[in-house]
Every structure is written in C-alpha cells, then in structure tokens.
C-alpha cells in the first residue's frame, strides 16, 4: 500500500524546485486528499499532537457573524398548547431569552424574547407608512426613510412581557429552566425618534388624552397608551443594538414605551390615533389584565414592577465542589427607574447581604449584581431582592399572593428562590 509520502514522491513536477501540476488540488479533492497535501506530512512535524485548529488556517470572515459551532444556546420556543389561552396555532408564538446561558445586560438581538400574537409580518419598508391622526391639528404620515432624518433618541432599556414568570403563579414551582421562568425579559440599546417630536409636529389638541397604537400585523395588534406617557419618554424604535429592528421586533418600526409591559410597545407600528379615551382593545381586556381574587381585573396595569432573579448558579448546572466560593450573580430591573439596591440571601430570606451592582446602573435597564458565596455543602436557599430608586421593594411570594390571589396570570414579580441540595443540585422552590 502506498503511504502518503509515496504519493507525494510520485507527483509529476511541472517546473523545478517542487512546483506541481495546478490540477492537483482538483484531483486530490476528488480523492479527498487535499488535507493530506495542505497539512504538513513531512517527518517529525513540530505540530504533532497539537490541536487541529492550530495546524491549518481557519475559515474566512462571514458577512454576518454567527455563534461558534460549539454553542447551542438558542431561544426556547413554546411547544404548541402551552399557552393558557390554549392556542396551538403556528403564528401565535413566543420565544424566550435563555438567561441560564447569558451574562452581561445586553441581550444579543437574535436571542431577544418575542411574542407574536399573529405571526411575524414580512414588511417591505418602502410600502410601510406611519400615520398620526385623530385629535391633531395636522394629520401626518411618515415613511421609514423620512424618520431617519430626525434627531436620534438612543436608550438602553429592558423589555419585559407582563406574562414573564406566569408559570410561577402555579401551586408547584415546576422544573423550568430560566428561559421558561424568566425568559420573557431582555435588554437592548434601542434607537429611533422621539414620539413627542412627531406628536408636536402633528399638533395634539387639548382633548387628546390617549393614543391608540395599531400594528401592521395580520391581527392589527392595538393598544391604548396614555398621552402623558407618550409625551414623556416614548419613542419610535427603528434600530436595536445598532442595526435595523429585526422582523420579530417590529421591523421597520415599533413603538417603545420604556418601563411599560412589552405588549404596549406595538410592533410594526403604522397608526397612532389621538383620542380622548382608550379603545378597550382585545389586548387590554381579554389579555394583559390581571384577574384578582374578588373576580375584578386590573386593567392598564402598564408599569412593570421591581424584580430580580439569580441567573448563576441556576438549575442549568450542578455545583461541582463543596467548601468552595462561588459567584452569585443575576439581573434586577424596574419599570420605575434605576435599581438602587439588590440583596442576596443564602438562607431563604432569614438574613440578607447587599450585592455589588455592576455599573453603570441605567434607568429602566437590566442591572447585574454579584456577591461571593461560600457553599459549605449543606442545603441552601438562594434568593435576591431588588429595591428601585422609588423605594419599591420586591415582595415575597406570600405577600404577592395575599394581595393578588393566584389567577392574575400577569405581573408575577415576587422574590425568586433557588433550592440548593447537598449534592449541589439546584431547583426552583417556593420559600
């Protein structure tokens, strides 16, 4: 049998000093032998035993980068039938951010959570316009292109669906990874145009107290937004993390209401109707209302509460060693402004210690906290408790349930507990 060296020796030279036939690579390709020739095959190569990627140049740059072939991190997509509404229709879907595998405070755009009640429309931006009408002096329309000429508003904000953590209203904590329990939450830098500037251009009349925002999805998702909010800090987002919005985030434009439940930040925005009253749309009556124990439901519970969760350690891992120091880290956020403080407990809330906040602490943005923790090998309950700049403190689960019962479905924001067992295994617990 011919060795690789024999094969090399047999090759016909086309000129002196080792130049070989240019068709060689094609031939070798057919034989599957390119590697044989490209890689050193001479006796005693110094690279012997080295890792393969050290021995040959890697692939060229990609026009749009993607994660390592060795990374499987991806959003969790709801299996059909999971929604409490019982829908199993393809378009009506959610994708959850995998916080168990992320660190930092900005979520990669492709991992940002999504809920699409009527699927993701494939919008041609040249055929999309935003119309502002109703109680205004001058009804106006804007193309995507014209909005690019306006001064840019850029803000880092978290977005959270008020349905985030809805499974934790259940009587049993369940075997959920962080994506399922807290994945309807993400953080990004959003850029676009001030809504107040566009409203001023149209001239809002004195009676204009609400704005009905409608999207260009097949269901025309619509929400009523208080004028006070619209004039304060709402904006039309055109970019996320520096690039154009992705279709699942509302391309080419979405409303963005900082600190309000995600559904109000209407995606694929195309109509803003200024009115003197809310429209009581499906998504502010049938959904996104909180049923209380007395049978009444909270409506326009728009502002997101102060909340936090430990993202590492979590039930995605097992602590590998006893009597070791681990970093407890997680995320805290509030729809009312900055996080002022996060406390961590390792004994189920009996004692608390203040964690370090990673700066800069931005208003209405995810804030990362950290605290070292020596695990002695005995069972422990890890918790985090956030306080925001208005002084609101995250409630215990018992406090929340006492006030709101267990059928609220939305706005679950109680202190979360990880139970650590003697083997370093971790699970959601109610404590």
């Amino acid at each position: 049998m011919m060795t690789k060296q024999d094969q090399l020796d047999d090759l016909p030279p086309v000129a002196a000093n080792g130049l070989l036939d240019r068709r060689l690579f094609m031939k070798s390709l057919a034989l599957g032998g390119v590697g044989t020739l490209a890689a050193p095959v001479l006796a005693n190569p110094v690279g012997e035993g080295q890792l393969p990627w050290l021995l040959a140049p890697g692939q060229g740059a990609q026009s749009y980068g993607s994660p390592s072939n060795y990374e499987q991190l991806a959003r969790r997509i709801d299996p059909p039938g999971l929604w409490p509404e019982g829908n199993t229709i393809a378009g009506s879907s959610s994708a959850y951010t995998p916080h168990q595998g992320l660190t930092g405070t900005y979520t990669p755009s492709g991992l940002h959570f999504e809920i699409n009640h009527h699927g993701i429309p494939d919008i041609d931006p040249d055929r999309h316009t935003l119309v502002i009408h109703g109680m205004v002096d001058r009804p106006l329309k804007f193309t995507t292109e014209t909005l690019d000429f306006y001064p840019t508003v850029t803000r880092s904000h978290f977005m959270e669906c008020s349905g985030n953590s809805w499974l934790l209203w259940e009587d049993e904590p369940g075997d959920l990874l962080l994506d399922e329990s807290h994945g309807l939450l993400s953080g990004s830098e959003w850029s676009g145009v001030s809504l107040a500037a566009l409203l001023d251009e149209a001239g809002v009349q004195a009676e204009g107290k609400w704005i009905i925002a409608e999207g260009a999805d097949s269901g025309t998702l619509s929400r009523s937004i208080p004028m006070e909010k619209a004039m304060d800090d709402s904006f039309i987002a055109l970019y996320q993390n520096g690039e154009r919005l992705r279709p699942g985030q509302g391309y080419p434009m979405r409303l963005y209401n900082p600190g309000f439940e995600g559904n109000t930040s209407v995606k694929w925005l195309r109509s803003l109707r200024v009115t003197d009253r809310p429209a009581m749309t499906k998504f502010e009556t049938a959904n996104y209302t909180d049923l209380m124990p007395d049978g009444k439901a909270l409506q326009f519970s728009l502002k997101l509460e102060v909340k936090s969760v430990i993202t590492r350690p979590s039930n995605a891992t097992v602590l590998p060693k006893k009597n070791a120091v681990y970093e407890v880290t997680g995320l805290a956020w509030s729809g009312s402004g900055r996080i002022r403080k996060v406390e961590v407990s390792a004994d189920g809330g009996a004692t608390w210690a203040e964690a370090e906040l990673q700066g800069p602490v931005l208003p209405i943005m995810l804030t990362r906290f950290r605290l070292p923790w020596r695990w002695d090998g005995s069972p422990a309950i890890l918790q985090s408790r956030a306080t925001d700049e208005t002084g609101r403190v995250q409630p215990t689960r018992t406090q929340l349930l006492d006030a709101r019962g267990k059928h609220g479905h939305y706005h679950y924001h109680a202190i979360h507990s990880w139970g650590v067992d003697a083997n370093g295994g971790i699970a959601h617990v109610y404590a």
């Binding site: 229709i89 009408h133 014209t146 306006y150 500037a197 619509s222 009115t275 009444k296 909270l298």
Partner: protein
Amino acid sequence: MKTEESLMYMRNWILFLTIALTTCVDGADTPELGQPASEADIEQVFWSVFPDGENLPAGSGLAVDGKALFNIYCIACHGIEGAGLTAVALVGGQGSLATDTPLKTIGSYRPYAPTIFKYIRRSMPYIAPMSLSNDDYYAVTAYLLELNGILEPGSVVNAETLPKVRMPNRDGFVNAYPKVPRKYDY
C-alpha cells in the same frame, strides 16, 4: 402700567419662555418631514372601534347566518359552538371569575361588544383576516353573543345595536394606571 399688571406681564413672559425652552429641549428641532395624511390614508390604517361604537362600519347581521358562517370559518379552531379546540373557547365561564377555576371568554370576561366585533373583523379567521364581508362579521358576532346568552335570539346586530349590548363583565375592570389600587397592592 401698574406694578401689579407689570408683574403679571412679566410672569406671563417667564411662563412663555419656559414653555418655549422646554419644547425646544424636548426635540422640536426636527426637519418636520411629515406629509399631510388624507382621509383615505387614515381609513387605510385605522381599524380600532370604541366601546361607544365609534368607527363601526355599515352593515348588519343575524345569528342564524352567523352560525352557518361560524361552522365554515371558525369551528376548526374554536370548536363546536365556540367551546374551544386548538384556539380559545368563545363561550361559557360566566360566574366563574371569582372562583378557583376562572374561565375567561368573550362572554364571561370582555366588557364591550363593539371591540369584540372589531377584533373578529380585523383578525379572524386567524389564517385569513378580513376575508368576510361586514355583514358576515356582524352575523358571526351576533351568533357568538347569542351562544353566550347575552342577546335574545333573532337580535339584529349592527353599528346601532352593538354599543347598546350590555356585557355581563361590563363593570369587572379596575383601572390600575398610573397606580395599582391599594387593595391589590402589598
């Protein structure tokens, strides 16, 4: 000018300046590129219907016709007589909201009939929204309201009658903006 008058005058000036300044800071310095929107432009994008019936279209329907339409266009997802299947139940649940097994449907939960019509007209059937006529949409709405025992059999449903329909959960909602009422806070 009397002192009082001139003081008032000055105060107004300060007020004017403050307003002018804050407006500038708020971003009034824009190229103002909005184009006038015509009635047709607005009609194209504005689908919301209000509880009092504003923006309801012309047309009308009866439950008998609605039943036939429902059994063709809706039953596959919402089930026989709207009992729910691969999509939400559209019937039942009245009296369940304060119990341990609340069932939220358009009949038990939604406070206003015109906005139910709006959603059906603009969003259903799920895979082909806006594919029926206004009369058809009034008819399926009539059928669903009758199934829920909210309308008398044979009721005509249109822009005139729909806002007058009294939904069982009409008073079931408590405003939580800007603050959640104390009772439900902790």
